[in-house]
């Protein structure tokens, strides 16, 4: 993205949030911002003004108020009437003033638990980060009309059902914060899952990185918000090392640490330290600590599997879900021997048709000296439609089996 483009993208969350809070209309806020961005590209010669956000805020608010006025005139069905004179509000807004920071309100609106969970993710990425409908459609594997409908329906519900443009009251806070964190977590999982980075979801990893950082900045006293921001940073830090030269996936313990982004690891560590200072643990903080333990190989030269296994143990108490249980079994396999890992894996039922389960089984069986079991599991995993990078990795592992 060129410098003007990134100045506009950087200003977007704050400006759209301020517009939406002022106008109480997400569509109008988004449209006005797009128009202002188009004028900006024409009006700014080669570099952005000193304060691009302030410029865009004034231009967009003016355009939105014009659009409202035109709509009101049309509604009166009197085509020849002159434009009404500017209202005191118009005059006031034309003056320089600080942009109110309404980003947290906008995030709470887009992540309201009264909206369907899959709509919340899409709407947040669309409205707060400005992702296009067609990009979201590809990222979430639905057609563009379906994605458009999902977003339109969510916006309609916000307007028609009276979802308030407010930060929730203290009594509703835990539920509402949980909805916000879950929304961002789903968005990031979507972006992270694809190790090949070839998929469409990988493209918005940067957006979630920014969004989670924004949330941590806006809610400095919520340890889980800090934990989520840390988690995303640790995971993104390793992104450049997740593929080898041939495009095959590389698991964390084998990644080339020289490729890891130390700036993100340090940022993650700072956030996690602040979260821990609040003395209230939670699943995102535990996950972030697991990622941090992988990253600690930079300092110690080895992966501390005993700690990772213990952390998964704690996480499994809160989230006894398939990915956690499978990862726990893998960690146990590294810490206590492949046999112990296989035993832990054997206690999980009904995951035979799930790729990460078969991949874990294959890996543990190979390490336990059971090449035939391992081969069967690799074949099962390869039959479950892995992404290209994962396929290359699994094929290489299968080839390296003895016999």
């Amino acid at each position: 993205m060129d410098r003007l483009g990134s100045a506009i993208a950087g200003a977007r969350p704050r400006v759209v949030a301020a517009l939406a809070a002022r106008l109480r209309d997400l569509d109008l806020a988004e449209d006005a911002f797009s128009e202002a961005a188009a004028s900006a590209l024409a009006a700014w010669p080669s570099q952005a003004p000193r304060d691009p956000a302030a410029w865009l805020w004034r231009a967009a608010l003016r355009k939105a108020l014009d659009a409202r006025r035109r709509a009101a005139v049309r509604a009166r069905a009197a085509p020849d009437w002159p434009e009404p004179p500017p209202t005191p509000e118009d005059v006031l807004m034309a003056a320089d003033g600080p942009i109110p920071d309404e980003r947290l309100k906008l995030i709470f609106v887009c992540c309201h638990p009264a909206l369907a969970a899959d709509s919340r993710v899409a709407l947040t990425l669309k409205v707060v980060c400005g992702l296009s409908t067609d990009r979201l459609a590809r990222a979430f594997f639905v057609g563009e009309p379906a994605m458009l409908q999902r977003i339109t329906r969510a916006k309609h519900k916000i307007a028609a059902a009276g979802v308030p443009f407010e930060v929730p009251q203290p009594d509703a806070w835990p539920e509402r914060l949980e909805a916000v964190l879950a929304t961002l977590e789903v968005a990031y999982a979507q972006a992270y899952e694809d190790a090949a980075l070839a998929g469409q979801a990988a493209g918005f990893a940067q957006d979630v990185l920014r969004l989670s950082g924004m949330l941590a900045e806006l809610m400095p006293d919520e340890p889980e918000a800090l934990g989520l921001a840390a988690l995303v940073r640790f995971a993104e830090a390793r992104r450049p090392a997740r593929l080898d030269d041939r495009g095959a996936m590389v698991p964390p313990p084998e990644q080339d640490m020289a490729l890891w982004r130390r700036d993100l690891i340090m940022e993650g560590a700072r956030l996690l330290g602040r979260a821990a200072g609040h003395g209230r643990s939670g699943p995102r903080q535990i996950l972030a600590t697991i990622h941090a333990t992988h990253c600690a190989r930079l300092e110690t030269g080895r992966t501390d599997w005993a700690t990772i296994a213990a952390l998964y143990e704690v996480l499994a108490e809160i989230r006894p879900h398939a990915p956690v249980l499978v990862n726990r079994a893998v960690a146990i396999g590294e810490a206590q021997g492949a046999g112990a890992g296989l035993a832990a894996l054997g206690r999980i039922d009904g995951l035979e048709g799930w790729l990460p389960y078969q991949a874990a089984r294959a890996h543990l069986a190979a390490r336990d000296g059971r090449p035939d079991d391992a081969r069967r599991a690799y074949e099962a995993a390869l039959g479950l439609g892995p992404a290209p990078a994962e396929q290359l990795y699994l094929e290489a592992q299968r080839r390296s089996l003895p016999g």
Partner: protein
């Protein structure tokens, strides 16, 4: 904004002797809630409904109306009552709806009124 709070409960929630005792308990809670909501000016209207066996449904099809004995849909849950409230936004409406007493398995739906 005005919101309708629709209360759906399992048809057999209040069956039997234990059910009648539960009914008395829930009705008392409704009275207390209605009194509180009226005092604060939130409640515009509301009532319980008789059993769905007392319902009559009018079906219009091909320009003809026919009567049908019973509710429009045969479901395990039936519409047992409603509140009509006037509050600022959805969060306030949901806060009221959460206070509505229901038997186990009950569902409470919150819908804004259409404004014409």
């Amino acid at each position: 904004m005005q919101y309708m709070i629709l209360i759906y409960e399992p048809e057999d929630a209040y069956a039997g002797e234990a059910g009648q005792a539960l009914l008395a308990e829930i009705v008392a809670k409704h009275m207390a809630l209605a009194e509180d909501l009226s005092a604060s000016g939130v409640m515009k209207d509301g009532s319980g409904l008789q059993d769905s066996s007392t319902a009559t449904t009018i079906i219009t099809q091909g320009g003809r109306q026919t009567l049908h004995d019973g509710p429009f849909a045969e479901t395990r849950e039936h519409l047992g009552g409603y509140y009509l409230i006037d509050v600022g936004d959805l969060d306030e409406a949901l806060a009221v709806a959460r206070r509505v007493p229901v038997a186990d398995g009950g569902k409470v739906e919150v819908r804004p009124l259409a404004v014409y």
